[in-house]
């Protein structure tokens, strides 16, 4: 067992946050040892023979061994048995990954270029996935545009997210904490930026968060766009860099009376500040920076705002007269 633990510990697998993850790691640990032995036989044997049977004289005679049926049967049959055993073990784990527990908490996942949106049954959505610990969670997933893949290394689960159909995945997180979500199906420019986080919290904290979100959502839903925009503008700290009531320059350009006006952009020239420009500048701030201002200052809000929220911000900026 010590060997086994050693392989386990040095396997570099991420935190095991689910029972499935532990099972996957056990199988991986076994395979690491088996592979180690196989490589020791093949590579070790090769090095040993290379050393032992090094050419001594220029007319060495060698044994003429054309084959050995018993030996050949053994080295076909033994690998076959091992491979089939490993196959069965992998099947056993996979069938658990695909056995959806009843009464799981369902969350809808929408993948899009280049963020994840988690839609809870109570009607609101979030860009991080908050879940209670020790509870079965089922994700029902689809994509708005191209293929994506939902991958949580710490849970050892992955499932492609496909436009035009639903796929599903489930997990039961047994550890508190934050875990990475990666997109693992190439989806274009910001494929590697299509990240999110799963926050596993105690049930009580989860309930409070749900209530808060639901309240926020009901307020947001009834707000006129411009007011929602104002709320977001403050909430996302936009106001600390962009003035809204006069032409004062803080860190970035003032937005006062800018909508419909022209701005001078480095290398491009004059550009009209319209809805497209604003949306681009929110999502990809470095694309068209106003002349005289440095690049790489404003962070991208890609993945942090949904379409409605972006429209709300644009609406608010339009109203700065």
């Amino acid at each position: 067992m010590t060997w086994f633990n050693f392989a386990h510990a040095s396997s570099f697998m991420p935190t095991e946050a689910t029972n499935i993850a532990q099972q996957v790691d056990s199988l991986y640990g076994f395979l690491l040892i088996a592979s180690g032995i196989a490589c020791a036989i093949l590579i070790g044997g090769m090095i040993y023979f290379a050393y032992k049977y090094k050419r001594r004289t220029s007319n060495d005679k060698t044994a003429y061994i054309s084959h050995n049926t018993a030996l050949e049967f053994l080295w076909s049959f033994i690998p076959l048995v091992i491979f089939l055993g490993v196959f069965g073990w992998g099947w056993h784990i996979y069938s658990q990954m695909r056995a959806f527990p009843p009464n799981a908490l369902e969350v809808e996942v929408l993948g899009m270029q280049w963020n994840w949106e988690f839609q809870y049954k109570s009607g609101f959505s979030s860009d991080t996935l908050m879940v209670p610990v020790n509870r079965d969670i089922k994700l029902v997933m689809t994509s708005k545009d191209v293929l994506h893949s939902f991958y949580v290394p710490s849970f050892r689960i992955k499932q492609d997210v496909i436009p035009g159909r639903y796929t599903a995945i489930w997990f039961k997180a047994e550890k508190l904490g934050e875990f990475h979500v990666f997109c693992t199906e190439f989806c274009g420019t910001s494929h590697s930026g299509m990240l999110s986080t799963i926050k596993v919290v105690p049930q009580g904290e989860f309930d409070r968060w749900m209530e808060e979100k639901a309240k926020e959502h009901s307020e947001e839903g009834s707000l006129p766009l411009a007011q929602l925009g104002e709320k977001l503008f403050k909430g996302k700290a936009c106001a600390s860099c962009h003035s809204t009531e006069d032409a004062t320059i803080k860190v970035g350009p003032s937005l006062f009376q800018k909508f419909g006006a022209n701005e001078n952009i480095e290398e491009i020239g004059s550009v009209v500040i319209n809805e497209d420009y604003l949306k681009e500048s929110i999502l990809n701030p470095n694309a068209k920076v106003v002349k005289g201002f440095p690049k790489n200052v404003m962070p991208s809000f890609q993945g942090q705002l949904n379409d409605k929220q972006i429209s709300a911000l644009i609406e608010y900026i339009k109203g700065m007269k």
Binding site: F49, F83, V146, R156
Partner: protein, 530 residues
């Protein structure tokens, strides 16, 4: 001049001269050399893209490129290396040159078709290169839909290029099958042909049967992009996963199109440099055919998490395990060939032993990936990247290098510097492990592939990997130097410098235009070291 030159001075290289005599040649040996020059050029371009990828990944965040540029570089690296280097590599260069010589034939069965294959590859390659100057393609070499339908790159041109290169591969395969069946010298029974020929023969079957599926798939993709016929795009009522089934139905057998010829080269080198008959000739020959046959039924292991049915996933996992068996048989047979041999460590042998080393690691990690419960975690991470580089580079490319050094004296009639060739091996072998072993660890840590940027936890291992890529580059530069120096000032090569037993070594180096002055009559197997 021809009249005054004695018969033995004339060979396929100086039999006629001028660029036109090359471009219209029907000689399989010259066509092999033309493939060599073109594939080497593609390899250098693909290699530069590989170095650029590693350079960008030296640190997280934006380095050399914008994300879009990175995606383009990654796409061209993959597409060039797969379609223009590894697939044509061994069959078109070494196969063309040595298949007829090894079975005692004057040429391949259809010399004109053989030349046409080269022109098709060139046409396809020029179109692929043309896309670099139009709208660069950024879909990855797999062209997954619906991204490839919406991407602004010149996907249509690129896909037609791949289609044409596929056509070239089909014709080469067809040519080889007919040649093996029809042009063997008297006495050269199917069980006396060298194992390299068996490997090429199995590969040819795959080329002929699998490549048309790729052709159809790519044409459907063009129909969808150009004519708006809904096949793969859900917006038009298509199914994106269907594309993956079609694509891998070709591209999995294609993996064996890439590795089987390499296995053939290894059998030749190991027997020669251990001066010993191959252990289990029949087992190796049939395991080539077995791998070729089973390889048609394992494509779904690329799609365990794609949304294909769970039962399909489990079946594909099972079938993939079966491919492992003939592969294991070959490994053990090669090992047994070394037993009680008389082993010499010239550079071809170093590459062959390097192949065994790296292929063992590539093989065991292949079993890990075939295990469905485990693959869910590893799929589309750097673990997969490391695995297929161990098999394709550690396997096929090592075999190309080994095979090239092995047959160089025959091809050009000159010897190269053994010291320089060994040096290139040392750099490539060590550099390869430094580059790709850390990627297994990155993959188990969860780093996805095709990532322009990564979380800081992955920095250290990415740095090691990048440094390794420079070592590989040095190794290949030394290799290039070895070749050029050998060509310019190498000592004349004897007919059989390594003491091999196969037919190509019975003719002069370089071989005469018609290969054999007298048709050889074969009375024994290919590895009669008694």
């Amino acid at each position: 001049m021809a009249a005054s030159a004695s018969h033995s001075d004339k060979n396929y290289l100086n039999e006629s001269s001028g660029i036109w005599s090359w471009l219209t040649t029907l000689d399989h040996k010259r066509i092999g050399i033309m493939y060599f020059i073109s594939v080497l050029t593609f390899f250098l371009v693909g290699g530069i893209f590989a170095l650029l990828i590693r350079l960008e990944l030296f640190s997280p965040g934006k380095g050399l490129f914008t994300p879009d540029q990175y995606n383009q570089v990654m796409t061209y690296h993959g597409a060039i290396m797969v379609f223009m280097v590894i697939i044509p590599g061994i069959p078109a260069i070494l196969g063309n040159f040595f298949l007829p010589l090894q079975i005692g034939a004057k040429d391949v069965a259809f010399p004109r078709l053989n030349l046409a294959s080269w022109y098709l590859l060139m046409l396809g390659a020029s179109m692929a290169v043309a896309t670099m100057f139009l709208n660069k393609v950024d879909t990855g070499w797999t062209f997954y839909t619906p991204y490839s339908i919406r991407s602004s790159g010149s996907v249509v041109l690129m896909v037609i290029a791949a289609f044409i290169m596929g056509m070239s591969s089909v014709l080469t395969g067809l040519n080889f099958i007919v040649t093996v069946h029809k042009l063997r010298a008297p006495g050269m029974t199917m069980f006396r042909i060298p194992l390299f020929v068996w490997a090429l023969y199995s590969t040819a079957i795959l080329q002929v049967l699998a490549t048309p599926v790729l052709g159809i798939t790519l044409l459907l993709l063009v129909a969808e992009r150009v004519l708006g016929v809904g096949i793969f795009d859900p917006k038009m009522g298509g199914d994106p996963v269907l594309f993956q089934h079609f694509f891998w139905f070709y591209s999995h057998p294609a993996v064996y199109i890439m590795i089987l010829p390499a296995m053939g080269v290894i059998s030749e080198i190991l027997t020669t440099f251990s001066r010993k008959t191959i252990f289990g000739y029949t087992a190796i020959a049939f395991s080539s055919l077995g791998i070729a046959a089973v390889s048609f039924f394992v494509w779904g292991h690329h799609m365990f998490v794609s949304g294909q049915s769970e039962i399909a996933g489990i079946l594909f996992s099972f079938l993939t395990m079966l491919v492992g068996v003939p592969t294991a048989i070959k490994m053990f047979n090669w090992l047994a060939t070394l037993y009680k041999g008389s082993i010499q460590f010239q550079s071809p042998m170093l590459f062959a032993l390097g192949f065994l080393f790296l292929f063992a690691i590539g093989g065991v990690t292949g079993i890990m990936l075939a295990t469905i419960g485990l693959d869910v975690h590893f799929h589309d991470t750097y673990f997969v990247v490391a695995h297929f580089h161990y098999v394709m580079v550690g396997g096929t490319l090592m075999a190309i290098m080994g095979g090239f050094y092995y047959w160089f004296p025959k091809m050009f009639g000159k010897m190269y510097s053994e010291a320089a060739a060994r040096m290139s091996f040392v750099f490539i072998f060590i550099g390869f492990n430094v580059t790709f072993f850390p990627q297994f660890i990155l993959g188990s840590m969860g780093m996805p592939r095709r990532y322009f940027d990564y979380i800081p936890a992955y920095t250290q291992l990415n740095r090691i990997s990048t440094v390794g890529s420079w070592m590989i580059a040095v190794g290949f530069l030394i290799g290039l130097y070895t070749i050029i120096k050998g060509l310019r000032s190498g000592a004349p090569a004897p007919a059989n410098p390594w003491g091999s037993k196969t037919l190509e070594w019975t003719v002069t180096s370089p071989p005469p235009h018609h290969n054999f002055d007298v048709e050889p009559i074969v009375t024994a197997g290919p590895y009669e070291y008694r």
